[in-house]
Amino acid sequence: MTTSAALATPPQVTAHQMQVARAIAPHLVDTPLAVHARRLALWIGLSAVFVALCIGVDMTPAAFAKGLSKLADFMGGMFPPNAAGGEVRILQALAATFAMAVAGTFLGVLGAIPLGLLGAKTFVSNEALHFLIRRSFDVFRAIPALVWALILIVAFGLGPFGGVIALALTDIPRIAKLYAEAIENSDPRPQEGIRATGGQRRAAIRFGLLPEVLPVMASQSLYMLESNFRNAAILGIVGAGGIGFELEERIRIFAFDQVAWIVIAYVICVMALDYVSENIRSKLVHG
């Protein structure tokens, strides 16, 4: 009873107590002026940099307001979503985009397996070489699929072929990095056990390493498929066909009700794929 009452009303600090506290440790009671000034200067400096950057990218209230009012118009035009008789065509384009993603992921996985082995410390133990290989994965990982697609479409002509190659090229360093990490993180003891009982290196890989890393690698490949479905949708913009092409066409003629229909269909497909893939992945990893 008394404790709860004490908790409900914290004891009041008297002016005298405050004076004593100030006398003992002034910097704990009041923030020194120098600290205040430094903080203020830091905030002003950072804000100035931020504002300069914003102006550098045209992020001014005027430009923002102008664009937003137009965007609101577009949004208004989006309802009700309407395929304008193009349902079959759009769904076919979605299927083609998914096919591109599957083909690209498959080629990416094929290309990434040898590179993943090369990138794993277990196989390439030379410190400098290992660093170099992994760093190059990091660098090429950051190049967007669109950048590859632009030039490959020139080489192979309009159509999904260049897009598939672009997806594979984007994936190879990403998957290779994931594979290399999976191999490095694997438990060395099963392999040592097989070697100790007289097994060859090949047997050690087949029965010691693969059973452990294969589910992880499969799960990462599925994850890449999810990401490629998104990437493949973009490639239509530069001429690889599929849903990106349909979308760009409609945006260009300001047919936003059709844009909305495509976007909704696309979001549902992506979420369905993510859902299925997530379920398979958790089964793979947790048995």
């Binding site: 992020m59 965007l71 096919a99 498959f106 632009l150 020139v154 300001f254």
Partner: protein, 300 residues
């Protein structure tokens, strides 16, 4: 004891029969999965026109040809001559001032978009963490909204925004900021949910408001994670911003698509080198900052 022997052998037989059935079922399952998988791959390659000749007659020849036309005609004796001399480095990188300005714009887009993304992701994460969200409905709604935004690629959003805001970096910034907000919102909410709740309860017990609980209970624990996720995202966004220009949303991408339109493939190669250089630079800077942050965390 013959009776027991009979029983034993019967048990063994039963076991083996059962094992055979299990193995068979497993084998059938594997074969079904394999066939299904192969069919999926085959259909995908077919639909994507991989082998149907859409790539032209001689794909390897085309790749070789592409690599050939991407190579600049450098002459060793004229390597360091001025821009107007054919075969010099500066005639290859002939529009360097413009490209550097566009690279800087790319970085600016990435930084501003990441900052806004971090800000938006922080607020979204508070609503989307089970332990901090003001109500389960808001929690559910925020999570679903973030999921929907995450399904949309930056460039698709940018495409729509370019139509509204006009050609320039602003639509690019908004598109990347939205994507960053959605992915950081998820990562941050996971960090929030993993935070120790005892400091939060302590602040609550002395009568702290919701904001005080977040500010003094949660933030000190999760800030290092926030910063390191944010920096990782900055690295990704620099790559993303490099592609934005292709749809007219600012940055170096506009030169990439210009080089393709004017069939200047050696210029494309030069731009690719510049983009890779930029990515390496950002990587190094961000890594240095991250290591310092981790060091701070270790000493704190």
């Amino acid at each position: 004891m013959p009776h027991q022997d009979i029983l034993k052998s019967q048990l063994v037989r039963e076991f083996e029969a059962q094992r055979r059935v299990t193995l068979l079922r497993q084998r059938t399952q594997q074969i079904v999965v394999l066939i299904g998988f192969s069919a999926l791959i085959a259909v995908s390659f077919h639909v994507s026109g991989f082998f149907s000749g859409s790539q032209g007659s001689d794909p390897w020849g085309r790749i070789a040809n592409l690599l050939d036309i991407m190579m600049p005609d450098l002459k060793p004796e004229a390597l360091f001559e001025n821009r107007t001399t054919a075969g010099s480095l500066s005639s290859w990188f002939y529009d360097m001032p413009t490209w550097l300005a566009l690279l800087w714009e790319t970085v600016q887009i990435a930084i501003v978009a990441t900052l806004f993304g971090i800000f938006g992701g922080f607020w979204a994460s508070l609503l989307a963490s089970k332990n901090l969200s003001p109500s389960p409905y808001i929690y559910w709604l925020t999570r679903r909204t973030l999921e929907v935004i995450r399904t949309l690629p930056d460039l698709i959003v940018a495409l729509i925004l370019v139509a509204a805001f006009g050609v320039g970096p602003l639509p690019g910034v908004i598109a990347i900021a939205l994507g960053t907000m959605a992915s950081l919102g998820k990562l941050y909410s996971e960090a929030n949910e993993a935070a120790d709740m005892r400091p939060v309860e302590a602040v609550k017990a002395v009568g702290g408001s919701w904001w005080a609980q977040v500010r003094f209970g949660v933030l000190p624990q999760v800030l290092p994670h926030y910063a390191s996720y944010g920096l990782l995202r900055l690295e990704i966004n620099v790559g993303g911003a490099a592609a934005l220009g292709v749809v007219g949303a600012g940055g170096i991408g506009i030169e990439l698509s210009r080089a393709i339109t004017y069939t200047e493939f050696d210029t494309y190669f030069a731009l690719l080198i510049l983009i890779i250089g930029l990515i390496i630079l950002i990587d190094l800077v961000s890594e240095a900052i991250r290591h310092r942050l981790i060091g701070l965390e270790a000493t704190a």
